[in-house]
């Protein structure tokens, strides 16, 4: 997918001004966020599970090559094929070649963010393979020609009416808007037929278990299970960080993933796949391929300050908790992964230069860190990226800060390095601001704080500092 991170500000402004989308984004808080809070409260050892989850991910990422080797060996032992793709192009090519070689006509997809990195469905369709998303949200997004808005709820920004218009060509303005069940049935009818004729499937992977060579899918619609069992070829695509060492670890990760994502204790379906069907089995695909993709992840792995972002299990909890995401929506982030975790991985994978606004767009409130099932310290990494864009000390190319901004902070530093200057600076600012103030507040301020007064009055600096007041009080007492 082509990164559009450069449009962050305009996209954000557009979403903030869109009342319908703002209403939809409310559900992210009232539904998912509250769901996670309740699920965590109902799980007695919740904090312990999070600690365990973090330890599992820390360990796996530290020994990633070992576990990737173990996993691919096991997949091959059970009759599957593993392909390591260095980038999205290589992964796409592998899958397209495979489809060509096996005379595939129809490909069904289940939800996979990694496949979004490849723009897989779009590319496969362009290459002449009918490729259809089967996750309801993804199907809606595909019909709309958009990209996912949220890690687990791709169409969360769409109203029921939007969905009705997309699913039903005869739907007209003024018609009764069907309810969610009716809409689901409509999609189901359309998709049943596709499932029946599909000869290849592409699914994502929630976790890949190294010791058994199995992949796990977590869904609520059953489309994932049908995708892994109906077509004769199953291709599972995953980022290289999706490994867990053992089945035991998987059980911990599933507990925290599902509760953090939707607030459920377990999703409707948890599907495990262990290779293609064996000669004594009657059902299952003839071929099972796993495509493991790097696509910039090694850059994260090599950076000790950002490596923790590979611990992400894509539950979306940080998006739901994020006050910024809940206002700017998913498309503002300009690439596959939105929200706080996207603000870290997207700049590193697609290039920091165009994505400067992503780490900047945070109040550093820490709600993401608090919500993360594996305790990823997202604010800390946002600060690291801001440091890179401000000063570019390790890579001058990454410096995107403007001259004015650098001059402001230099001046700030000079002012803070002595009490006399500090008081003088404050005095000057006070004298400059006072004529614009009414009762100690300013309605319209000049740059660099003009942004403040678009929606807030700005307080006038005090005429006398605390130091001066305390000294005065002290003298009076003596």
């Amino acid at each position: 997918m082509k990164p559009l991170t450069i449009n962050f500000r305009s996209k954000a402004a557009q979403t903030i001004g869109d009342e319908q989308v703002q209403n939809s984004l409310e559900h992210v808080y009232t539904g998912f966020y509250q769901g996670r809070i309740n699920a965590a409260a109902d799980t007695p050892n919740w904090e312990e599970l999070r600690t365990k989850g973090k330890a599992i991910k820390d360990h796996t990422i530290a020994h990633l090559d070992h576990y990737l080797d173990m996993f691919s060996e096991k997949v091959e032992q059970s009759g599957g094929t593993v392909f390591f793709a260095d980038n999205a192009e290589e992964a796409r090519q592998y899958i397209t070649e495979l489809a060509k070689d096996r005379d595939i006509e129809t490909v069904i997809k289940s939800k996979s963010m990694v496949s979004e990195e490849m723009s897989l469905a779009e590319n496969m369709n362009d290459s002449g393979f009918e490729t259809i998303e089967t996750d309801l949200g993804e199907y809606i997004i595909q019909l709309a020609g958009e990209t996912p808005y949220h890690l687990i709820a791709p169409a969360v920004h769409k109203s029921r009416k939007d969905v009705a218009e997309l699913l039903d060509k005869d739907f007209e303005d003024g018609d009764r808007v069907p309810d969610a069940t009716e809409l689901t049935m409509l999609a189901r009818e359309q998709l049943r037929d596709v499932f029946a004729r599909a000869d290849m499937s592409v699914t994502g992977v929630n976790f890949a278990v190294a010791e058994s060579g199995s992949i796990t899918l977590v869904t609520n619609e059953g489309n994932g299970r049908m995708s892994t069992s109906v077509p004769r070829i199953h291709v599972a695509v995953m980022g290289m960080e999706k490994i867990v060492p053992s089945i035991q670890d998987l059980s911990t990760m599933l507990r925290i993933l599902i509760r953090s994502a939707t607030g459920q204790r377990i999703s409707t379906y948890v599907t495990m796949v262990n290779g293609p069907k064996t000669p004594d089995e009657e059902e299952g695909p003839d071929e099972f391929h796993v495509v493991i993709m790097n696509n910039g992840r090694l850059k994260l792995l090599k950076d000790p300050l950002l490596r923790e972002s590979l611990n992400c299990i894509r539950c979306g909890a940080c998006l739901n908790a994020c006050p910024v995401y809940r206002k700017v929506g998913g498309h503002a982030y300009g690439w596959v992964y939105p929200g706080p975790i996207g603000a870290i991985v997207t700049p590193v994978i697609t290039g920091l230069k165009d994505a400067t606004n992503l780490p900047a767009a945070s109040s550093l409130c820490g709600a993401c860190h608090e919500a993360c099932p594996v305790k990823i310290n997202i604010p800390r990494m946002l600060l690291e990226l801001r440091h890179k864009t401000a000063e570019g000390l390790s890579d001058p190319d990454e410096r995107t800060s403007k001259f004015v901004e650098r001059a402001i902070w230099k001046t700030w530093r000079i002012g803070m390095m002595g009490r006399g200057r500090f008081d003088w600076g404050a005095r000057l600012a006070y004298l400059f601001m006072r004529p614009f103030s009414i009762n100690g507040w300013i309605r319209k301020a000049p740059p660099p704080i003009s942004g403040w007064t678009v929606s807030r009055d700005f307080p006038l600096i005090a005429g006398r500092s605390l130091k001066s007041r305390l000294n005065h009080r002290h003298k009076k007492e003596i």
Partner: protein, 262 residues
């Protein structure tokens, strides 16, 4: 109980780190902090040379500019003994949690920051820890709601303690705020760099505040206080935002002068 010291602190003297914003923009918050601490029987010292902890530049990524300011702070406060009180969650978090990152190329500084942090307390945290959340009695007749500032809540771990303190004030009526723990949108330079987003987050906070019908909002960080009060004023609201220290000192004074309820 006032003017005596039944604490387990082991000293009668503390040092105030006012923070640059309180020092120059909200000195009354600093004075209130001093009054409350004195009410608890403590003598409050002020380091005259103090300016800033370095947080603004650090948060904007300008660590080279932040570093000397932070180092200066460290040296100034290393020179005084005893507890250091900071009436700000985010400045306390800067010293305690983020200096490790800022100083990471100099282990000596990291160690020194850690040592200093052991005796540095956020205002609410200090009172709660050494005197208990019921240490301050007073009275006022306001309808109050409390906003949980992010760094105070998530970096320092002060959650319900201020509410407990406020419940000790006679005549004060608490009215709970929906989503009290959701950010107000301030975020330092973020508020002027991305005003649209900062304002959109603020609007939600203001709606939740207005729904409480409180005439006063209490919070623990001056940046958030100005963000919220600035927004309320722009809406024409008469609800005012106070630092916890302000409402506590006012309630103590009310009690002394017999103002407000009983």
């Amino acid at each position: 109980m006032p003017e005596t010291s039944n604490n387990n602190l082991g000293t009668q003297s503390v040092t105030l780190f006012a923070t640059c914003m309180i020092d120059q923009m909200a000195p009354t918050v600093g004075e209130s902090t001093v009054e409350v601490l004195e009410h608890l029987g403590l003598q409050v010292k002020f380091v005259d040379q103090q300016t800033c902890c370095g947080q603004p530049a650090f948060n904007s990524g300008f660590r080279s500019e932040s570093l000397p300011v932070a180092q200066r702070f460290l040296e100034l406060f290393e020179a005084v003994d005893g507890p250091i009180i900071v009436p700000s969650g985010s400045c306390a978090a800067m010293v305690r949690n983020f200096y490790t990152d800022l100083f990471r190329h100099d282990q000596d500084l990291v160690e020194r920051a850690r040592t200093l942090s052991e005796r540095l307390y956020e205002f609410t945290e200090f009172i709660d820890h050494f005197f208990g959340s019921d240490a301050i009695a007073g009275s006022c007749d306001d309808r109050v709601t409390y906003h949980k500032c992010c760094h105070l809540l998530r970096e320092i771990g002060i959650d319900e303690q201020p509410l407990e303190m406020l419940s000790n004030i006679d005549g004060l009526e608490m009215t709970p705020m929906n989503r009290a723990d959701v950010c107000c949108g301030f975020g330092g330079a973020f508020s002027v760099k991305m005003p649209d987003i900062s304002s959109a987050i603020l609007e939600e906070k203001l709606d939740n505040i207005e729904a409480t019908k409180a005439n006063r909002v209490v919070a623990g960080d001056i940046g958030c206080i100005y963000q919220i009060e600035g927004g309320l004023r722009r809406r024409g609201s008469t609800t005012r935002v106070l630092h916890l220290a302000e409402i506590l000192s006012e309630s103590i004074r009310n009690r002394k002068t017999g103002k407000a309820t009983e």
